[in-house]
């Protein structure tokens, strides 16, 4: 429990290590954001038959740096109508949670299971640790005992940045955006939390490093059959990706900054470095969300140790490859999917994602209960599990049917109240 180097009396060296880790993580995240912006522009360009940034540096790699410098030296405009204090505060409220979330993610470490102490030849007690300056530690800034809740807390705080930016600008389009942002964040946090609960259920821990450990246990080829996206049965993973994209305000859920409707959304009135901070926070959140999906569902740094490199570095290689895949996925979403309408967004969140993740959580809990010895429907644990699964799936289907019937009835009712001709139900289903 907890990071090993903090188990004993904390001395000045431990404090130094903690500060050093934070600084390194911040730098890594900044560089990652720089590369991510380049990556996104480049991939989107290719998907749209363009070349993209190709002038600044090799392959246009330094384009982000150039843009950042440009933003730095631009004039910082604060609108007369704005609430000056909140207007200046809002970018920080966006940026700080974005960085803090990254602190709980283990980015490297040897989880291959075959880790042995070089001196004694005994297996190490704690997988995933490295030794820095004689101190054994995890490759993450902080091992918070309730790390996943820390992520939820930060993502629920991140909405303040957008909300207050929109409100304090003293202009109508940003205000519309901030109202949209708060409604969207509240709606999708529920689905996000429920799909997370499925992972917590099978992992039995709230700590990120323990979640990685349970996925890495069992050895094998990186033990990838133990990864949570298989163990929890795909559905929580899909719900998490959708809700996570919505939480990031990335396309197709970018109603908050829908430029065709509300100019630039919440950051319309922002310029110069304050605008850059929102931009930075957005991409930091994207990288962190990708890293979190990897940690929760794809075993984080867990993967086979293929030799040549030291074990902890393989952890980083696996983590980074998995992360890259999900970052590409986010970019792909952006280039492919058209933006959702507001009512579609709410329908998807409340009528589909939340019921599905809630039902799936119940099913998973039931199956776990069936594996214990406390049930005796059948002679064996497998028989119990099969019966529970059958009953559970049947129950979920009945629930889903009731829900869709209720939704349909409400809709027909509303249309009749409007005095419109009743539309055939088949068409309505297709529209949803």
């Amino acid at each position: 429990m907890g990071d090993p180097y903090l188990q004993n009396e904390v001395d000045i060296g431990d404090v130094g290590l903690a500060v050093g880790k934070a600084v390194v993580a911040f730098t890594v995240l900044l560089v990652a954001v720089m590369l991510m912006v380049w990556f996104e522009r480049k991939v989107v360009s290719r998907l749209q038959n363009r070349i993209g940034p190709n002038v600044a540096g090799p392959f246009g790699l330094l384009q982000t740096l150039a843009d950042g410098l440009k933003l730095f030296f631009k004039e910082d405009i604060i609108p007369t109508n704005s609430d000056r204090f909140v207007f200046k505060l809002a970018p920080y409220l966006s940026l700080v949670p974005a960085f803090l979330t990254f602190a709980v993610i283990p980015v490297a470490g040897d989880f291959s299971g075959g880790q042995v102490d070089a001196a004694t030849g005994l297996p190490l007690e704690r997988p995933g640790t490295v030794t820095i300056f004689g101190r054994e530690t995890f490759v993450q800034v902080a091992d918070v005992p309730v790390g996943i809740l820390f992520f939820l807390a930060m993502s629920s705080l991140a909405v303040y940045g957008i909300m207050l930016a929109g409100w304090s600008s003293g202009s109508k389009y940003p205000l519309l955006a901030s109202v949209r942002a708060s409604a969207q964040a509240i709606s999708y946090e529920a689905a996000l939390g429920l799909s997370l609960a499925a992972v917590l259920l099978v992992s039995g821990s709230l700590s990120t490093i323990d979640i990685v450990n349970t996925q890495a246990a069992g050895g094998g080829f990186g033990g990838f059959t133990r990864w949570n996206f298989i163990v929890t049965g795909f559905v929580p993973f899909i719900v998490f990706v959708i809700a996570g994209t919505a939480e990031l305000n990335r396309p197709p859920f970018d109603l908050v900054e829908a430029e065709q409707e509300i100019v630039g959304g919440f950051h319309t009135e922002y310029s110069s470095i304050r605008f850059a901070m929102f931009f930075l926070a957005e991409f930091m959140n994207t990288v962190t969300m990708g890293a979190l999906i990897v940690t929760l569902f794809f075993g984080g740094p867990a993967g086979p140790n293929l030799g040549i490199l030291p074990g902890w570095l393989w952890g980083f290689v696996w983590f980074f490859s998995k992360l890259l895949f999900f970052l590409f996925m986010f970019v792909w979403f952006r280039a492919t999917l058209p933006r959702l309408r507001y009512d579609q967004l709410m329908n998807l969140g409340w009528k589909l994602l939340i019921p599905i993740s809630l039902g799936w959580l119940l099913l998973l809990a039931g199956i776990r209960f069936a594996r214990t010895d406390e049930l005796d429907f059948a002679d064996s644990a497998i028989g119990n599990t099969a019966i529970v699964m059958l009953v559970g799936v049947a129950g979920l289907m009945v629930g889903g049917l009731l829900l869709s019937m209720a939704a349909r009835a409400a809709r027909t009712d509303r249309l009749e109240n409007e005095g419109l001709v009743a539309v055939p139900t088949r068409v309505l289903v297709e529209e949803e």
Partner: protein
Amino acid sequence: MVNTIVFAVAALVVVGGALGVILNTHPVRAALSLIASFFGVALLFVLQEAHFLALIQVVVYGGAVVVLFLFVIMLLGVDATEDLNVEPIDGQRVGALVVGAAVFGLLLAGLFVSGPGGDKGAVALTGQPSFTQAIVENPAFEEEPTDVDLLADDLFGRNLVAFEATALLLTIATVGAVVLVRNRGAEDLVVDEPGSATR
């Protein structure tokens, strides 16, 4: 040493935030002060090694509840500074003062009863040993239970009925709120929901 410093900082944030809530004439700034106050409380929870409670405090109160406040403030457009000389309910201020003084007095009394030398915490006020102590000594836990274990044991063991009753109450409240809104008349609703009016 470190604990004292953290406590001092957290206490400053809590009190400062609370003062900000009542002294700011601007509703949005008052809500922001409220968040600061909640954060201070969360910090105090961390100091007591109640990590779970600390983060729930941030997620639920700092995150959801104040977002809802701000949402309402923005939607209703009560940005403008309210006239503080108007009293919405007669005798409200005197009542608030009396209740506030009573709560403060109770807190002080609790502090004095449980002061140095006397019984601590729950024992001082109720004469009963605290639940937490009983759970920690429960042999069902093989290793030292974390705060999450303790909370789970309390909620889903000892207080299961109350917990489920609360869940039911909240569901009823939600359904009630929806029914109240829906009954206002269908024509209002059409305007509210984008995309529904055209089809």
